[in-house]
Amino acid sequence: MQDTSNILRLLSAISAIIFGSGGIIALFYVANIAVNRLPSQARSRILPWVYMTPALLVLGAFLVLPTIRTIIISFMDQRSQSWVGLDNYHFAFTNAAMLTAFRNNILWLVLVTGLSVSLGLLIAVLMDRVKYEPLAKTLIFLPMVISFVGASVIWRFMYAYQPPGIDQIGLLNAIAVSLGFEPIGWLVNKRINNFALITIMIWLQTGFAMVLLSSAVKGIPKDVIEAARMDRASEFQIFWRITIPIISSTLLVVSTTIVVLVLKVFDIVFVMTGGNLDTEVIASRMIKEMFNFRNFGRGSAIAVILLLAVIPVMVANIRRFQQQEANR
């Protein structure tokens, strides 16, 4: 009984794949034939649309419509039954927990972006001259492949805290105690717990920044650096006046990518502290409103705020991209 149902499921999955991809191919094939019948002038104008329409439709159905729906819900009450105007937004910008979340998020943005980009850049430039470059880079890149949740689990052990007198199982506290200090409540001390969480994200993102920046640094022609040396520039001047400007577009891409990631961060907070003890960020707050408190209105309002916060970053990225295209 169980067996047959499994086989049936497998068959339906396979047929879905075959009919799904086959259907797409057939769709393009037929569209292509139809377009080829058209006069050649119209053809070149219509052809791109024929190929793009399915993708645009899918994008519209799964991305644009939900976004619009979220925006609408954000102006409605808890159950999405009546209009409440800007109430949800008013809540988002005045509620104490929300304000803490905003403050924390700004802290996250500045520290994670600033530190992982500058550390990544520093390592990329220094590694360029190191003999065991591939090995060293692999080690630094490694955290990148760990999921946020996985990384959080690892760091729970780093930060684990036992009251004084009991053996410390957390690495950091074990070190602290062996050096004669009191164990530190990394995740409960409100002065440092946010920084403890931010450290995890930096650990995760530095490798990403380093890999991209390192390939940009390697892309600078050796001649250009040597020409600067002949022009009597010091290594420091070469770094600031040649290296940085030449890799500036990569720097921007890396920074904006990390900014977007940080804006979305919630898993680390969720796993480590559950957002307690003043460690809430906007995204974790959104999850709470949405799924713990079942307040769809507020949850959606926070989602819209996050969306708006990402837009300037995206605009900067696209601008830069267009500039690059124009310069080619």
């Binding site: 022609p221 250009v224 020409a227 600067a228 040396r229 002949m230 022009d231 009597r232 001047q237 400007p245």
Partner: protein, 368 residues
């Protein structure tokens, strides 16, 4: 205005490859020294050691009497024009040229004036606001030179700066660089593997092969008195013809015998070669010292030989003809364009016996 001395300078790379071996070279104050040689002979390596971009494995390098082996490029006051031009891609042409002055803290007005002057001299004033990638190859080459001259360095190093230009532009740039040298009166060290560039620009030429300096001399002397087979074959185009030969005495006379060829040594030179009788030698004669009898100029010392025409290359102002001796040995002649030559035809040509060279095949040195 730098006096540069290489003393037994050797470069061996990390992989153990010796790129330059025991280089001794004394470059005068306002000399235009050209470094030539085939690809991979160590020209760039020598230049980079002088620039300070490559460490010196052994030997000494002096600039104006001061040992500079351990000095960084910034302490050497030398400018370099790279083969790729290596312009700073993110800076305008003005900024490219002003960069070194800015680093020195030169006043702004001063920088503007010096960059402007250099740009005027090179004819690139209207390009100052552009970015390097908006320039053509020839324009980039000028900017690279301009970036070097605004600094007013004590020596200029140039690594094949014209190799990316088309033939016409190259001729023009060659003349401009020569003019620039006369005007600046500074030491120029110029790397090329183009012997026309070497001959036309250099006040002296250093010929290198496989990391070893072969000969340093004026273009004229290098052409007329090559030290060894390599220099003889490298300078001059088409290359000198070589024949494996021996010296035979016959009565009073001395003959060079090379297969079907039997060439008498002129009386005046006889005593010089007397001691080499019986030993193997290499007989060399340049294609331009072989004439068709009708158009042989007066004043040569003609010796007529027979050969078969195999290929005729009409160049307009001259004919390059491939000739074959009775024993199958092939050689080239550069003859008057009016000569009538048909492939397959047997003809007589005149060798100018005032201008032949004899070398020792084991050492490849010229016979003294």
């Amino acid at each position: 205005m730098a006096h540069i001395v290489f003393e037994q300078v050797t470069k061996s790379y990390d992989n153990g490859f010796v790129a330059v071996k025991d280089l001794n070279l004394d470059i005068g104050d306002d000399e235009f020294l050209v470094l030539v040689g085939p690809s991979g002979c160590g020209k760039t390596t020598s230049l980079r050691m002088l620039a300070g971009l490559e460490s010196i494995s052994s030997g000494n390098l002096y600039i104006d009497g001061q040992r500079v082996n351990d000095k960084s490029p910034r302490e050497r006051d030398i400018a370099m024009v790279f083969q790729s031009y290596a312009l700073y891609p993110h800076m305008s042409i003005f900024e490219n040229m002003a960069f070194s002055l800015q680093l020195q803290g030169t006043p702004k007005a001063d920088i503007r004036q010096r960059v402007q002057a250099a740009a005027t001299q090179l004819g690139i004033e209207e390009l100052l606001d552009r970015k390097p990638k908006q320039l053509s190859g020839g324009q980039r080459q000028r900017v690279a030179v301009g970036r070097a001259i605004v600094r007013d360095p004590s020596a200029f190093l140039m690594d094949e700066p014209l190799s990316n230009l088309d033939a016409k532009l190259r001729v023009q740039a060659r003349a401009e660089l020569s003019k620039l040298h006369k005007k600046l009166c500074t030491t120029f060290i110029y790397v090329t593997h183009d012997q026309v560039e070497a001959m036309t620009m250099g006040s002296r030429i250093a010929v290198m092969n496989q990391g070893i300096l072969q000969q340093v001399d004026t273009p004229q002397n290098l052409y007329e008195h090559p030290n060894n087979v390599f220099v003889a074959g490298f300078i001059g185009s088409p290359a000198m013809n070589f024949f494996k030969a021996t010296l035979h005495p016959e009565g009073d006379a001395l003959f060079i015998k090379a297969g079907a060829l039997r060439v008498p040594i002129p009386a005046a030179a006889r005593s010089r070669y007397q001691s080499y009788v019986g030993t193997p030698i290499i007989f060399g004669i340049r294609p331009e010292n072989i004439y068709t009898p009708e158009y042989a100029p007066p004043g040569i010392n003609p010796f007529s030989i027979e050969a078969t025409v195999s290929v005729v290359e009409m160049m307009g102002h001259e004919i390059i003809v491939y000739l074959t001796l009775a024993d199958g040995h092939e050689f080239l002649a550069r003859v008057d364009p009016r000569s009538r030559l048909t492939p397959g035809e047997a003809i007589r040509v005149n060798l100018d016996l005032n201008r032949f060279h004899l070398f020792d095949p084991s050492s490849t040195h010229v016979l003294a």
